[in-house]
Assembly symmetry: C2
């Protein structure tokens, strides 16, 4: 199923989110508005607003606060991207030039701060302290995760559990927070809140694993950045970790893992090797299992087209080619 | 009057704020905790928590939320300092090495993000949507102000109104927000809220003007950074603007103002000239007038030792030597 078809039940809400995202940028200071507009226009799948809206639609509630939450969640995501790209010295995201490749680092830090503040402001407008608590907790988890990654002992062997901790902070926590926020706004029961969080956390985890898998299989044109870009930056993701588990004495993997230096020819060969390995398929299968956990969590939630869309979205997360 | 004596009525609350600031740092990831501890330990006068506590004490209310607000306000202030020092490439603050002079810029950005998130989290714990709205608005004003400063036409002549807009964003907005937040928590009337905001805004403005005056008169040992450091970085503050108004054709001032380049000997002489000029005294007198507006705003607020302390604090802001 195409993403567009899956999200049909919330098509008009997603259009409103799009308009509001642009409004949030347009209303403000000129040069900054251009930059923020460029990051909004660079696309992205709006998966985070989509799950927020779908989760909210499971419970009868007025539109306004739900739309605000969906916008706030996407802005928060964008803010983390802006600082991330700067910190990683990334030059491309989804095929477009990153802000830091066009602006100096000062303006980029401020642009990230600004989008973040805007996300906080819109979340505050929702006027629900519990939602704001979730929002603030999510920011803490994301930032702490980045800092821990920065401080991970460079010489330690990459571990699966450490990977899962990292991608929870980086990706899954925001999906979890988005789902739970929508539930709070809809006065969801304790049981439903638990299911929403479980779905969000597992969907986000699977989403990130597939991102990491696609980093090995996509072409530059598909994913908008060089193939194997994570490993090139020394970031060892699930496919590489699984490969390394099965080839614990592989000399190139050893040198990459402990950052002992390696030449670019070895690195190219390593990326090529992983991209055709059974471990890549195994990583994808692991994401598939995690998605099933997310889908099972949906079973306790109110039945209907919105729940079905969340179910189909989970399938899409696995099946997507980019 | 010494600051310590002025703040006697809230001595125990300020001690609790100090403990909580350290707790906020200590509870978390090791290396980051060290960095945050260092910025907490580097001192600062805790003027922002002080005005928050004093404003809150004007209205009967439980301690807990007020203490949280005071901590959150100081953390927000610290977060802006961390990013500011990085963006300005400052190496010293209050005589101590800045975070960015010890850490790489990546860690510094993340440290700022972290402290910011922590401030938001503690503000969210207060559980009052109106307070969170004020918090988010204040962040927006601060960040927008920094961005605008970055984009100000470098060739335009420095103007007094532009200076006041800048220091409102940079300093006064947080004082205003802190006072108003304390009022919201104490269920202050509309009239009282207005007075609190007016006091905060004007106190913060005067505070920044005096900071800018002291930058010309202090010795490096006093202010913890080189004398005339603002002008050295091309930041033209009130004393220099007033001097320039009265000497519109001064060649060195002209070249500094429009960033046309100047040699360091000229710059030293210029700083020396301003530091002994009548304009420096005039800038101080202007701050004094602004403080009187703040003090008059207090007259409508509940009488007593807390109001008196706010009054005396305003005098201190003018009289302080560093």
């Amino acid at each position: 199923m195409e993403l567009k078809d899956i999200l049909k039940p919330i098509e008009s809400e997603l259009n409103q989110v799009e308009t509001r995202l642009h409004d949030a940028a347009r209303a403000e200071f000129g040069p900054l508005a251009l930059v923020i507009d460029s990051i909004i226009d660079s696309g992205g799948k709006r998966i985070r607003p989509a799950v927020t809206l779908l989760a909210g639609r499971l419970f009868p509630q007025p539109d306004e606060n739900l739309l605000k939450m969906a916008v706030s969640v996407e802005l928060l995501h964008m803010a983390t991207l802006i600082h991330d790209d700067l910190l990683d010295n990334a030059t491309k995201r989804r095929g477009s030039a990153t802000i830091n490749s066009k602006w100096d680092s000062k303006s980029t830090v401020l642009a990230g701060d600004y989008v973040w503040a805007k996300a906080a402001k819109i979340a505050a407008e929702v006027g629900n302290p519990q939602v704001l608590g979730i929002f603030a907790d999510t920011i803490m988890v994301i930032v702490e995760g980045e800092i821990k990654q920065d401080y991970t002992d460079a010489k330690s062997r990459p571990q699966r559990d450490e990977y899962y901790t990292r991608i929870y902070a980086k990706t899954a926590s925001l999906f979890e927070g988005a789902m739970r926020s929508a539930g709070v706004l809809g006065n969801a029961s304790e049981k439903h809140m638990h299911a929403l969080g479980l779905y969000g956390r597992n969907l986000g985890t699977a989403f990130q694993i597939i991102d990491d898998v696609l980093d090995f299989v996509g072409t530059q044109a598909d994913v908008g950045k060089p193939v194997g870009s994570d490993l090139r930056q020394g970031v060892v993701t699930l496919p590489a970790i699984m490969y390394y588990e099965n080839h614990p004495n592989h000399p190139v993997m050893n040198s990459i893992a402990v950052k002992n230096g390696h030449n670019s020819h070895d690195l190219d060969a390593m990326i090529q090797e992983i991209s055709t390995s059974p471990e890549l398929a195994a990583a994808r299968a692991e994401a598939q299992d995690i998605v099933r956990v997310a889908q099972r969590a949906l079973e306790t939630l109110p039945k209907g087209k919105y729940r079905q869309a969340l179910h189909d979205l989970a399938d899409y997360v696995i099946a997507r080619k980019k």
